[in-house]
Symmetry: C2
């Protein structure tokens, strides 16, 4: 195993105990060279990447070529990640989804933990799925929060954490809302799988939500045992749904 | 003219010089009585209403009846406002849209002020309209911010001000984004018209946006002269578009 972490975008303790390099995301030439020197064949992309500003990029020559080719500014996140994935395949790497190599990484339909949605939550989940599908089709975002039929917030570029955070003060009395997070239809599952972890459950609890609905077989569940422990003790449900 | 202001939801100076009462929004019986006592025939609903929490409501008897009838919790904002409008008509009032009585209240297609969108802004406006229509069809919100093809944010229950505010730190380098604000298709134009004013332009400027696109004939433009002055001196365009 060999890790490439992106400068300013990683927590150093996550790579410290493994063979790794830390490089700016824009230095495509150096990244490719490091991967090839290490003899990498299969490539797994994992974790969130903050889209850097152009000056911050400080592109190297391969970076300039790549960005010129994919016209980064006109693309949504899917387009960007998909184009990067294609380039990496062209360089001879085999892209592998993190869900394919993590034991228990994705999840079958059903409950994670011991709490289950009630009828109101079921209705909010159904509405959230309809909204998330419409958003995904427009390449806007993956997540939506619904409380008692009311859409409290919709994720765009700010990400799921920011969405959950702002939903707290917007919540109404009565049964709390539900976070629904599903993949955009055109998303390349090997590159960018919707992800939740114990921290997501903690944030949801803090924002007054009652639970989280994800897409079965299509969501990366980080630290599943801890996530279930947190959800069980917080009284939140986490449910994986079969979604077409 | 007789004004009913909602307690805790109005700026006292806006009503001080006119015949008025200030009543809690939940006291439907008292509000109806005040309107009838004042001999009101035509009724104009204007301004934003923060949806109160249930304990805050302290419903009176008519309020309980009304809320029971319309099942407020299951409704989006349109449903709620539409139901209130229907009840007021049933009480014999004639609902008049603020756009129908304000001179220059709404606006024909074209530019307000001297700045115009360039090709990138035109493309962002077109994308924003497509997204806003999809959101509106789902009764989610009226507004979206697009920068260089990327959807920076989408309005749900938090309102346009909060959307603009959070778009500031999310902006990318290069040409700034565009705010697109259009009515939801099922919105009752007499009750809830999308609204912009000089403050909207100031917020947009502060968030690094380059302009605002609204729907011609279907947007309430508050203090039009001041809005144009602010936009001209800030270098922002404001454009009213014909939108089906």
């Amino acid at each position: 195993m060999f890790l490439v972490a992106f400068e300013g975008q990683h927590a150093p303790e996550t790579v410290a105990n493994f063979p790794h390099v830390v490089l700016p995301i824009a230095k495509a030439g150096q990244i490719l060279k490091a991967l090839k020197t290490a003899g990498v064949v299969d490539l797994v992309m994992a974790g969130g990447v903050r889209r850097p500003s152009l000056p911050e990029l400080g592109l190297d020559w391969r970076g300039v070529q790549l960005f010129a080719k994919i016209g980064v500014k006109a693309l949504g996140d899917d387009g960007l990640l998909g184009a990067i994935g294609k380039e990496l395949e062209r360089e001879g790497f085999r892209l592998v989804g993190p869900g394919d190599i993590l034991k228990n990484g994705t999840t079958e339909a059903g409950l994670l933990g011991r709490h289950a949605p009630d009828a109101q939550a079921d209705a909010d989940i159904a509405h959230g799925i309809a909204v998330a599908k419409a958003l995904g089709a427009l390449d806007i975002g993956q997540a939506v929060i619904v409380q008692q039929g009311l859409v409290l917030g919709v994720e765009a570029i700010e990400g799921t954490d920011a969405l959950i955070l702002r939903a707290g003060p917007l919540r109404r009395d009565g049964p709390g809302g539900v976070l629904v997070k599903i993949a955009k239809p055109q998303q390349d599952r090997r590159i960018d799988l919707p992800t939740i972890g114990p921290a997501t459950v903690e944030q949801a609890k803090a924002a007054g939500l009652r639970g989280i609905a994800i897409q079965a077989g299509n969501t990366l569940v980080l630290d599943r045992d801890a996530l279930i422990r947190v959800a069980d003790s917080a009284g939140l449900f986490v449910i994986a749904m079969d979604i077409d």
